[in-house]
C-alpha cells in the first residue's frame, strides 16, 4: 500500500477552522484545545514560532508534518476529527450515508461555500479532488485505488463513492491523508505546479508569502464561509528550529505561540506568568523491535521474558517526564477511532515471571545489544531498559549511532534490539496493524516493523481485523484479538505512548486547537487585546 512509503513522523491534517464554530464546546474545553475564555476579539496577527519550515508543500508527496499542519490554513476536508480525536464530524460535507454493506458512501456538500478566489464549491470539486489524489501513484491515498469502483457527483451538492468490496474506513481516510478539497477548474487551468505556488482552498486563510527558511504569512480569506470567522487578520509563522529560541521568542513577545516544546521544559514553563502550555493530543506509539532472524530472539519465551522485565511506567517517566502513558497495547492512545483498548493491559511488569520464562527457555548469561538513535528520550529509554533487563540476568549493551546509520541497520536488519515509533496519520487503524503484524506489508516493506516476525497466528489475526466489516462496536472484539495476538508474539514490544504535543502560548492566545492527527483549527483563534 502506498501509505507504507510515509515516514513515521508524518501526520495528517484535519484542519479546519470552521470546525471551531461547529463544535466550539469541544475546541474551548478539554483535551486538544488551548484556553478560551471571554468574548472573542476580531483582528490582530498571531505570530507562531515553528520548529521547522515547510519542506514540501505538495500534498501528494509531502512527508512533512509541518506542511500538513499548515495546509489547514488554506485547505479543508469533507470530514474532520474532533480535537480529542475520538469522533468524526462534518466539515465541507454536512452529512453522509453509508449503505449497510459498506460499499456506497453518499455525501451532501455544504451549500454556500466559496474558495478563496470567490468561486463556489461544488460536488464536482469534491469528487475530482478525491479522485485526483487517489489516482496519484505517489499519494498515500493511492492504496484506495484498487478498492474503488467509482467516484461521482450525481447532483450539484451530492458526491457518491462506490467500493468494489465492503470498506468501512472511508470516512477516516477523507478526514486526513491528502483528501483536501481543491477547485477543479483552477487546478486544471493552472496546472498542478503553478497551483501549488498559490494554493486556493476553502480554509480561513490564504497563503500570501513564504520566505523559505524564515517565515510564512497567511492572511484572512475574505470569502470564508463561516460568518464572522476567522477572528485573526492573519498569522505569521517564524521558522525557529532551536528549542530555546522558540521559548525565548514567546518570553520576549517576539512570538505568541511556540510549537514542539521539549518535555523537560513543560513543568517550569507552566508556572511562568504571562504564558501557558497547551497539551494537544497526538497518537504516537514507541516500540522496541526484536530481530527474530537469529536466536535467541526467535524464541517467543525470550521475547515475552524481555517484555515482562520492562517497567513501562518508569520508562515513560524517564523518557517523557510524565507527558505520555505506559503502553498497554500496541495501538496508540487516544482510544476511540483507532480501536486501541488499554483495558486489555497486555504488557504488565513482572520480573519474577520473566526470570521463570528465561529459565524455561534454557537461556543463561544472555548478552544483547540495543541499537539507538541519538536523543534524550532514546538515551533515557536505553538506560531504563538496560537496568530492567540486568535485574533478570540479561546484560544489555547500548549502541547509539547516527540517524543514518540507525536507518541503515534497521532496514538491513543488522540489529538485535532497537526502538522505533508509529504515528497515526488518520484514524484508520488498518495501516498500523498491517505494518506491525504482516511481514510483506507493501512492496517488500517492512518485515513486520522490521522484526521479521512471521507468525501465522499474528498474520491471521491481522487479516481478520483488516478485512472485517461492521460497526465500531462490532469490530472492537476483532481488533482486540489482533492486539492480544501481537502481545502473545511479543514483537515489537510497545513501550509508551507519546500522547501530547506541548505548545507554549502567550496568555493572549485563545481558541487554538489541534487534534491527534496534527489537524489544527485556525479560524477560531483570537488574541486578547
Amino acid at each position: 500500500m502506498r501509505i507504507s512509503i510515509r515516514f513515521l513522523a508524518a501526520a495528517a491534517v484535519v484542519s479546519l477552522a470552521g470546525a471551531v464554530a461547529a463544535c466550539s464546546s469541544a475546541a474551548t474545553t478539554g483535551i486538544g484545545s488551548a484556553r478560551s475564555s471571554g468574548q472573542p476579539v476580531h483582528g490582530g496577527t498571531l505570530k507562531v514560532a515553528l520548529y521547522s519550515d515547510i519542506q514540501n508543500i505538495n500534498p501528494i508527496t509531502s512527508e512533512d508534518p509541518v506542511a500538513q499542519l499548515m495546509w489547514g490554513n488554506w485547505w479543508q476536508y469533507a470530514v474532520y476529527a474532533t480535537p480529542n480525536g475520538q469522533s468524526l464530524q462534518p466539515m465541507l460535507a454536512t452529512s453522509w450515508s453509508i449503505t449497510s454493506d459498506y460499499k456506497t458512501y453518499t455525501f451532501q456538500i455544504r451549500p454556500g461555500v466559496e474558495f478563496s478566489d470567490g468561486e463556489a464549491l461544488t460536488a464536482e470539486d469534491v469528487a475530482w479532488s478525491w479522485e485526483y489524489m487517489i489516482s496519484q501513484s505517489a499519494a498515500q491515498m493511492n492504496f484506495l485505488a484498487p478498492r474503488i469502483a467509482s467516484i461521482t457527483a450525481p447532483g450539484p451538492l451530492t458526491v457518491r463513492v462506490v467500493f468494489k468490496t465492503p470498506y468501512p474506513y472511508f470516512l477516516d481516510d477523507v478526514s486526513g491523508f491528502e483528501a483536501v478539497i481543491m477547485p477543479k477548474a483552477l487546478v486544471e487551468k493552472e496546472g498542478w505546479s503553478a497551483y501549488l505556488r498559490h494554493p486556493v482552498g476553502t480554509g480561513p486563510f490564504v497563503l500570501t508569502s513564504w520566505q523559505r527558511g524564515a517565515s510564512i504569512q497567511v492572511t484572512r480569506n475574505p470569502h470564508y464561509w463561516q460568518h464572522g470567522l476567522p477572528y485573526l487578520d492573519g498569522i505569521t509563522y517564524l521558522v525557529m528550529p532551536d528549542d530555546q529560541s522558540r521559548i525565548t521568542a514567546v518570553e520576549s513577545g517576539t512570538a505568541d505561540v511556540a510549537t514542539q516544546i521539549p518535555y523537560n521544559e513543560v513543568r517550569s514553563l507552566s508556572s511562568r506568568p504571562g504564558m501557558y502550555v497547551a497539551n494537544f493530543p497526538q497518537s504516537i506509539d514507541w516500540n522496541m523491535v526484536l530481530n527474530t532472524l537469529d536466536p535467541p530472539l526467535n524464541n517467543v519465551l525470550v521475547r515475552r521474558a524481555i517484555s515482562l522485565a520492562i517497567n513501562r511506567a518508569e520508562l515513560e517517566q524517564a523518557a517523557l517526564y510524565g507527558n505520555g502513558v505506559a503502553a498497554k497495547t500496541f495501538l496508540p492512545d487516544p482510544a476511540g477511532l483507532t480501536f486501541a483498548d488499554p483495558a486489555l493491559n497486555l504488557y504488565p511488569y513482572d520480573p519474577a515471571k520473566a526470570k521463570a520464562l528465561l529459565a524455561q527457555a534454557g537461556v543463561r548469561n544472555l548478552h544483547l545489544t540495543l541499537l539507538l538513535e541519538p536523543g534524550q528520550a532514546e538515551a533515557a529509554t536505553g538506560a531504563v531498559i538496560q537496568a530492567d533487563l540486568a535485574a533478570v540476568g540479561i546484560h544489555l549493551s547500548l549502541d547509539t549511532v547516527s540517524e543514518t546509520s540507525w536507518l541503515d541497520d534497521l532496514t538491513s536488519q543488522k540489529f538485535q534490539l532497537t526502538t522505533s515509533f508509529w504515528q497515526d496519520i488518520s484514524p484508520n487503524p488498518i495501516n498500523q496493524i498491517q505494518y506491525t503484524m504482516v511481514p510483506d506489508y507493501a512492496a517488500g516493506c517492512c518485515k513486520a516493523f522490521w522484526s521479521s516476525l512471521n507468525d501465522p497466528a499474528v498474520i491471521a489475526a491481522a487479516q481478520a481485523a483488516t478485512t472485517a466489516v461492521g460497526s465500531h462496536a462490532a469490530l472492537q472484539p476483532i481488533f482486540n484479538k489482533a492486539q492480544i495476538a501481537e502481545a502473545q508474539a511479543a514483537d515489537p514490544l510497545p513501550l509508551y505512548n507519546d500522547v501530547t504535543t506541548p505548545t507554549l502560548m502567550s496568555s493572549r492566545v485563545h481558541g487554538f486547537a489541534e487534534n491527534p492527527y496534527d489537524g489544527a483549527y485556525f479560524a477560531g483563534i483570537w488574541l486578547a487585546s
Binding site: N58, G213, A214, L238, M240, T248
Partner: protein, 312 residues
C-alpha cells in the same frame, strides 16, 4: 599591476577551493547510511529507495559522483535539494543577505569598539584603565559565542524587551534592530582580537623615532595618536582581522541558530540535521570562497595602507 596581482591571487585560490570540494564531498560520502533511505524514511520499499538513489546518481561510484559534482559546479550549478525542493544555489542566494549583513554588522561593531579600546589601552599602558581593558578583552576571548548569545537574550533582551530575540525583520531598519544582539555576540571575540592587536601594535609604534619627532614638533596627544600612531598601528590589525574573518563567518552558524536568523549558518545546521548533503556541500564551498576572497582583500588592503609592502 593591482589587477594582475588580484588575478594571480584569485588563481591561487582555485586549488584551495578544489581541495574544499574534495574534503566536503569525501566527508559526506564517508557518513554511514543510505541517503536515499534517509530521505524516504523506514517505510519506503527497496524499489523506491533504489529509484531515488538512481534519480540523484547516488548509486554511482563516489568518484563518478564527485566528477559530476565538479562538472555541475563549473556550470554554476550547485545541485538540487530534495529536502528543500529547490536548487541549492537559489536556497543559498535567498539566505545570503542575512548572513552578509550579520557579518558586516559584527565587523562594524568590532572595529567601532575595538579600535578605540585598543588605542585607549595603548595610550594608558600600565595604568588602571589599561588593566581593565585587558581584563575585559581576555574575558571576551574566553567566552564561547553560543554562551554569550544566550546570556544576551536572558540578561539584555528579556528584561529590557528592547531587542527582538529571533528572526530578521522586514526592511533594512528592522534588520538592524533584529541583528543587533546577534552581531554583538558575534563581534565580542573579534573586538578582543582587534583591541589586543591594536594595543600591542600601537605600543610598538609609540617607540618609533618619528613619533618622538612628531611629539617634539608640538603635536597634541590626540593628533599624534590619530595621525601617526593609529595609521601605522593598524597595519598588523588588518592582517589579524583578515585571518579572523574566517572565525567570524563560522560563528554565524552558532549565532544564527540561537537567534533564529534565516541565514546561511542556520541553513547549514538544518541541512546537516536533515542529511541534505547537496546543500551542505554548496554552503561549505560558498563559505570557503568568502574566506579566500576576504584574505585576498586583506592582502591588497595591507599593500594599500603601506606602500612599502609589495604583494606578489
Amino acid at each position: 599591476m593591482t589587477f594582475a596581482v588580484t588575478g594571480r591571487r584569485l588563481a591561487q585560490g582555485i586549488p584551495v577551493l578544489v581541495g574544499v570540494t574534495l574534503a566536503t564531498f569525501a566527508l559526506t560520502a564517508l557518513i554511514p547510511g543510505n541517503v536515499a533511505q534517509v530521505l524516504l524514511g523506514p517505510r519506503a520499499s527497496p524499489q523506491q529507495v533504489r529509484a531515488l538513489a538512481a534519480a540523484y546518481g547516488l548509486n554511482q561510484p563516489v568518484w563518478v559522483q564527485y566528477g559530476r559534482y565538479l562538472a555541475r559546479l563549473a556550470h554554476g550549478n550547485f545541485g538540487y535539494s530534495p529536502v528543500l525542493d529547490q536548487n541549492v544555489g537559489t536556497a543559498i542566494v535567498q539566505r545570503a543577505p542575512a548572513t552578509l549583513l550579520l557579518v558586516a554588522y559584527a565587523t562594524v561593531l568590532a572595529v567601532g569598539l575595538g579600535v578605540p579600546l585598543g588605542m585607549a589601552a595603548a595610550r594608558r599602558a600600565g595604568r588602571p584603565a589599561d588593566h581593565a581593558i585587558r581584563l575585559a578583552v581576555v574575558t571576551g576571548l574566553s567566552l564561547p559565542t553560543f554562551w554569550v548569545a544566550v546570556m544576551l537574550i536572558l540578561f539584555v533582551a528579556l528584561p529590557t524587551r528592547m531587542f527582538p530575540v529571533a528572526g530578521y525583520g522586514a526592511g533594512f531598519i528592522a534588520h538592524l534592530g533584529y541583528l543587533f544582539l546577534p552581531a554583538l555576540a558575534l563581534a565580542l571575540t573579534f573586538i578582543a582580537v582587534i583591541t589586543r592587536g591594536l594595543r600591542a601594535s600601537a605600543l610598538h609604534v609609540l617607540q618609533e623615532p618619528y613619533v618622538t619627532t612628531a611629539r617634539m614638533k608640538g603635536l597634541s596627544r590626540g593628533q599624534l595618536m590619530r595621525r601617526h600612531v593609529l595609521r601605522n598601528a593598524l597595519l598588523p590589525v588588518v592582517t589579524i582581522a583578515g585571518l579572523n574573518m574566517a572565525w567570524l563567518i563560522s560563528g554565524t552558524v552558532v549565532v544564527e541558530t540561537v537567534f533564529a536568523v534565516p541565514g546561511m549558518g542556520q541553513l547549514l545546521v538544518n541541512s546537516v540535521l536533515d542529511h541534505d548533503y547537496q546543500v551542505v556541500q554548496g554552503l561549505v564551498l560558498v563559505f570557503a570562497v568568502f574566506v579566500v576572497l576576504v584574505n585576498i582583500a586583506a592582502d591588497l588592503l595591507y599593500a594599500g595602507l603601506d606602500p612599502r609592502v609589495v604583494v606578489r
